[in-house]
Symmetry: D2
Subunit: 344 residues, 4 copies
């Protein structure tokens, strides 16, 4: 047993206020499959928060499910989706997109983000019917390595997509952490304006489970629930997710929890840096990737849970430390104390 | 607003004891994706309850998801699955099985069950590579119209499947209600012996969500989690379902809740019959299908929620009334009082 | 070895004039993948023959390939296609349509054709996102049991499709035989007007291989070659099929060959009827289905090749006799002589 | 109109001896769907040529079709296939493999070949159910850039595959050219020993169309015709391909035609080199990739057909020149004369 696990941001259940609303509404009879008052209320709050009164909002149980349903809903049989080589859909979803019949392109990246010029070059290289037809761009914010897109980045990506007839899709598994990052200048309303479909991640931000898919683009709304049902995503008790997102967006809870996670990551990063260590990426969100000597990592593992992310040279590796709404200052400080002791 | 909804058995949240365990374990740190102590505990309890110490157990969020993952995991590209024409996978899952590439055969049925002779005849009619290769038999217990399979039925179906190289798969969305039915002589252990893969339905028996997939057949266990992940079914907080099934099977809660639903359905059915009405099927489970004159149905709808299931003649239709663990005697009696008043 | 095979209409190679054009053009250098002058010429001749100057024309190697590409090109993930239970795509293509992810509905039929009321009823029964969305109607002309659609039939089917937002697709594996049938009042131009996509069958009408897909409906033309390439249907030497269809439609060869096949079938049917036998269907095309006592069938099989199609009662079966452009009067008369001798 | 097209090796029809056998056997009645005496004869000759009396042999119409059927037949839903980034299945088949549900990995390559260490590293990086499961290795011989595998290369790849439970699949679209290359020490028998499934390309070696799939690996033979039919690859007149491969392997015609193409490519390459030009790859087969200044390419295009393959620097590009069985010495010499004149 570890003293504390920084493995991920889904080690605990739900934030108490999320659980409360479930308990409070538990015995109300509601319609099934997302046609309930709780989902309706949550959808309304999200539309309002995103300044997108006409957007459609749907709730699904997890990120891979959201990605495969959303992307497949945009693509004709021969269409493909562009991602970076570290993109979740390319690496860590067991070929879920390909299982719906579509190729995923992987572009090189250093910091987990993609550049408009890369998108343009890939589109330009696909010239005829012997090749797939690139049709959607997948990005995640924050990225798989903790970095974020700023407003100017998203505007440039949105522009390159619209110029080339691509849909822009954003995986927001950790959207709360991204938008509340000290370095971010992006709002939900910016997303609703610049992105054609995205999801607001609940699971990694204090929900029991659940992601809210937002569809600002009119033609992508059509028959979306058919896609959901066909992939097993229409939950009989859809209320379960609706209730949680209603709690998230009733006030600022969603962003408060994300800010908390970010603050803990920053405290952790500062402490690690103060001890003289560097990082794989400059992450302003709730995942940080310090680089440690391998023997130190072995020692740390005796007390703390975390992923060893990648080898950086013959003697060092980057590890991933993830904080969450549930991380306490004492957990951070305990880690730093141990680290300090081990590096003396 | 209805006085009470008999629409389905997923109108409420979870049974309080289910919620309790979620609250109690909420802040424990657990590993993700079902590799947690709660899933492990639940799987152990289910293996024990099924007398199947070697069976694999996995947890997913819903029935359509369970069906598409389980069936696809059994089938080669050209294999098909046999069901009845009222089968959930044939009618009410938006082509989820076909979306994984497989044909579903639909055999005629009166009472929702399938006969071994039908299976044999279908297999015999598929003779060469110009036709699909039938490879799995899909049954549900209870069926979509409330009826059940008895042990002898399952033994005969199991035998015809094994003789023909078919896998037998059982959709147990309402398995609790089926097994605790007064007319049932089937146990979980019988299923583990006779069926190659099945799921124990939680959503419709008092869970917030979740189904437990049980795999007794050795060769079907291999790499099953790859199938789950590829279809978006590995929940980051898999603990959420594990905790609920641990509560279900810690003692007899799972079956107690089902018995409660059945008792309410029986009370309802007896009352309806006493008023002189007949039924579409003889259901010993928690869904009953009384046949009423259309004007009476219109009156009932003013106070009660339910599905109009099918037209039985020019002036009558069968409706579906579903009870659950949350149905109270007063809900049943209220309906019967209204019905009695309307039929005077 | 049989004296003669009535198994099918693809027992021989190609009509000599078809072979001639291949030999004649053999060493001309042409562009690949259907971008050659022979395909262009054939497409132009077909457009002219169909009175459809704006239709797109593509060439593929066989009927199953044509069906799976054409139907999949029309369907979104959750869309389904309607056919009859004897339809080739439902029974005899090894689930090729389902392998592209789509459900095939099978409606009952006696004579292989479908009625507009059946289509309307099926559409009406599909009401929400828990069910697939019927989007295309598949018919074949001639049907799998030799019958044909008349112009009024096609107009009625076209109307019910357009009223319900369905595409009408026609499998013309034996279109030549259908259109030149004595009972037909349908022209290629009628098809181009009433049907959204269809194919003109070459393989069963004297080509080495090849079917010509015709797309009158504008929005279905877009990027069709991507669909073809993705399914392995863009032949490097597409010229091979183009050359044959150019030969077919340079003059009336396509229809001449079909008339020949029909004439032989009619001669055969008349002879069989004269000996007092009945038929499973009243076929005015090149497949006939006489009903014989089983011992007679066993005797006939010693000298002739044919399929035993279906049992009609305990002592009789229908067999399928297929004639082609290559069938000679002496083949027909030989069969009748044998039959006559066996029934004395 | 070009003086001559070096665009590809499928610009002409078939070698005259191939056409002859089609003409000669044209009116023989044969069974359909590959169950004919010509396919049987061709399969027997191929088994003999490959020293693989137990191998299964099937005939399909083209390379993309062969690849998608063969690879899909080896893969479970979550399995992936490894290729190089220039691999035909990765770049030039419009996502055909992904359309069957499977991810294609693309490994970097300079000369079109893959190294065992790359395969091992990729397998090692795929550690759990969040990633696809690499299950097959795709190679082509000759490669897409004209290079070949030698026996030691294939032995090493075969070994790394067997050690890791991967199937080794070889795309032989230009197998004749590869095996008859001056630099090759590989025989069909080596392939049958080292590779689990491969195809012998006919289309690019003088057939009208057709590829012969060879399956030495016992468990991969099962029900292969179901896979073929489901993808539209069982040709009604399968005899058409059988007849051609019978002609190919009756004597040494298949390899004679390939030698002819190689000889013409070598003559061309020597002439180009003599004029002082370099090449993108050192190809010992029938595709060569000389590097020319862009203005020279523009001049050459006025008289000759060819692909501009890739830019090599700001002022130069590599072009692809392909020779075939039909290329004459005068075609080669004409090109060299033009080139020489243009470079003076």
């Amino acid at each position: 047993m570890h003293t504390y696990s920084f493995f991920n941001d889904y080690s605990e259940g739900a934030h108490p206020r999320i659980l409360d609303v479930l308990v409070r509404t538990n015995l109300d009879q509601e319609d099934g499959y997302g046609n309930d008052t709780l989902c309706a209320r949550a959808a309304g709050l999200i539309r309002k928060a995103a300044g997108a009164p006409d957007a459609d909002v749907h709730f699904v149980s997890g990120g891979t499910q959201a990605n495969l349903i959303c992307l497949n809903s945009m693509l004709r049989s021969y269409d493909s989706v562009i991602a970076v080589e570290s993109g979740h859909i390319y690496v860590h979803e067991t070929g879920a997109i390909e299982a719906t019949g579509h190729k995923v392109h992987a572009l090189p990246t250093k910091d987990g983000t993609i550049m408009p010029e890369q998108v343009q070059a890939l589109v330009d290289a696909h010239t005829d019917e012997h090749m797939v037809h690139p049709r959607a761009l997948f990005i995640s914010n924050s990225t798989e390595v903790g970095t974020i897109y700023r407003k100017a980045d998203l505007e440039a990506l949105s522009a390159v997509c619209r110029r080339n007839g691509l849909y822009l899709y954003l995986d927001g598994a950790r959207l709360g952490s991204a938008l509340t990052s000290r370095e971010s200048d992006v709002t939900l309303a910016d997303l609703a304006r610049l992105v054609d479909m995205f999801y607001i991640g609940g699971t990694k931000n204090g929900a029991l489970l659940g992601e809210a898919i937002v569809i600002p683009r009119p033609e992508l709304k059509e028959n979306f629930r058919f896609h959901m049902k066909q992939r097993g995503a229409l939950l009989a008790k859809g209320r379960l997710i609706g209730a949680q997102f209603a709690a998230f967006f009733e006030d600022d809870l969603y962003f408060d929890l994300a800010r908390r996670a970010n603050a803990m990551a920053e405290r952790l990063a500062r402490g690690v840096a103060a001890l003289g260590f560097g990082f794989l990426t400059q992450s302003p969100t709730n995942q940080i990737f310090p680089i440690f000597p391998d023997p130190l990592i072995a020692e740390l593992r005796k007390s703390y849970g975390f992923h060893v992310w990648s080898r950086t040279d013959a003697a060092h590796s980057a590890i991933r430390l993830v904080t969450s709404w549930a991380t306490k200052e004492e957990n951070v400080d305990g880690f730093l104390t141990t680290l300090s002791a081990l590096t003396k």
